[in-house]
């Protein structure tokens, strides 16, 4: 139960931050990616704000102990090397992000907005995730 409440709070803060920072608006995201047009640097400030909170708490508190506040082990990725799937996946993701201006967090946060374009994006995104996961498990 404790895990469910803290995850709910985390998701809520994350979604509120996405909306307040305007990163739920694909026009703003595309404006950041359009460096040869009327460049909109807002997304860089959003990233800076997120890193300003996460990095020091992670580096000074979590990293030395590897455990949560409740002294339970953190589940961190074990893979360290840059491999072909990482590169291929990042390229495919970048293509989709550049075409739409939407990545998974803002896409999901937009679900209550009632936009058909968002429903279509989320539907094919979930199909892609499920398909890729099943393929990887084979």
């Amino acid at each position: 139960m404790r895990f469910i409440l803290t995850a709910l709070l985390a998701g809520f803060l994350f979604g509120a931050g996405l909306t307040i920072s305007m990163m739920t608006d694909p026009a703003r995201v595309l404006g950041f990616l359009d460096i040869f047009g009327a460049w909109d640097p807002t997304l860089a400030f959003v990233m800076a704000g997120a890193l300003a909170i996460y990095m020091p708490i992670y580096q000074f508190y979590i990293k030395p102990r590897g455990r949560t506040i409740f002294n339970e082990p953190c589940q961190l990725p074990e893979k360290k090397q840059v491999d072909q799937p990482l590169i291929t996946g990042a390229i495919l993701f970048g293509l989709g992000w550049g075409l739409s201006g939407i990545c998974p967090g803002p896409g999901l946060a937009n679900l209550s907005g009632g936009q058909p374009a968002i429903y279509v994006f989320i539907l094919t995104m979930l199909l892609g995730m499920i398909g890729a996961t099943m393929y990887q498990k084979k």
Binding site: F3, T6, A7, L8, G11, F12, L13, F14, A16, G17, L18, I20, S21, P26, A27, A38, T42, F45, V46, M47, G49, A50, L51, A52, I53, Y54, I57, Y58, Y61, I62, R67, I69, F70, P77, K79, K80, Q81, L86, G89, A90, L92, F93, G94, L95, G96, W97, L99, C103, P104, G105, G107, S112, I118, L123, M125, L126, G128, M129, A132, Q136
Partner: protein, 137 residues
């Protein structure tokens, strides 16, 4: 485009960072939206926290709307483009083990080399894609 937007962006970013670090401090988990979503759908055991996180994420804009922070009214891309983009994002984030949150925020903060490469590559590809769509085609 105004500097006041940059302050609002930074403040919103701090909230995003706070949400992500809450998940690490209390649940010991990386706040990677693509990983959480994919695992919630494909792995039913011990996924209750994932569904709770997603409920919070999706419900949050309904609450921020009360303070005037609303979701966009216009989505620039067409429906077919959105369908293709969604598929690419879904497949790409699984093969590449993460998206803007897991690699971009958590991974960079953890000084992960994999996440640094992933972030540079997906940002670079997205910049290239937008440049071609807007200035070449």
């Amino acid at each position: 485009m105004l500097p006041s937007d940059w302050i609002q962006g930074f403040a919103g970013g701090m909230l995003i960072g706070a949400g992500a670090i809450v998940l690490m401090l209390f649940n010991g988990r990386i706040a990677g939206i693509s990983g959480i979503t994919a695992s919630a759908l494909t792995q039913f055991k011990q996924s209750a926290w994932r569904w709770a996180f997603l409920v919070g994420l999706i419900a949050a804009p309904l609450v921020t709307a009360l303070a005037g922070f609303t979701l966009p009214e216009n989505i620039p891309a067409s429906l077919p483009t959105m369908a293709v983009a969604g598929l690419l994002v879904g497949i790409g984030t699984r093969i590449g083990s993460g998206c803007t949150s897991g690699h971009g925020i958590c991974g960079l903060s953890r000084w992960s080399l994999r996440s640094l490469f992933a972030t540079l590559i997906f940002m670079g590809t997205a910049v290239l894609t937008v440049s071609i769509v807007r200035h070449v085609m």
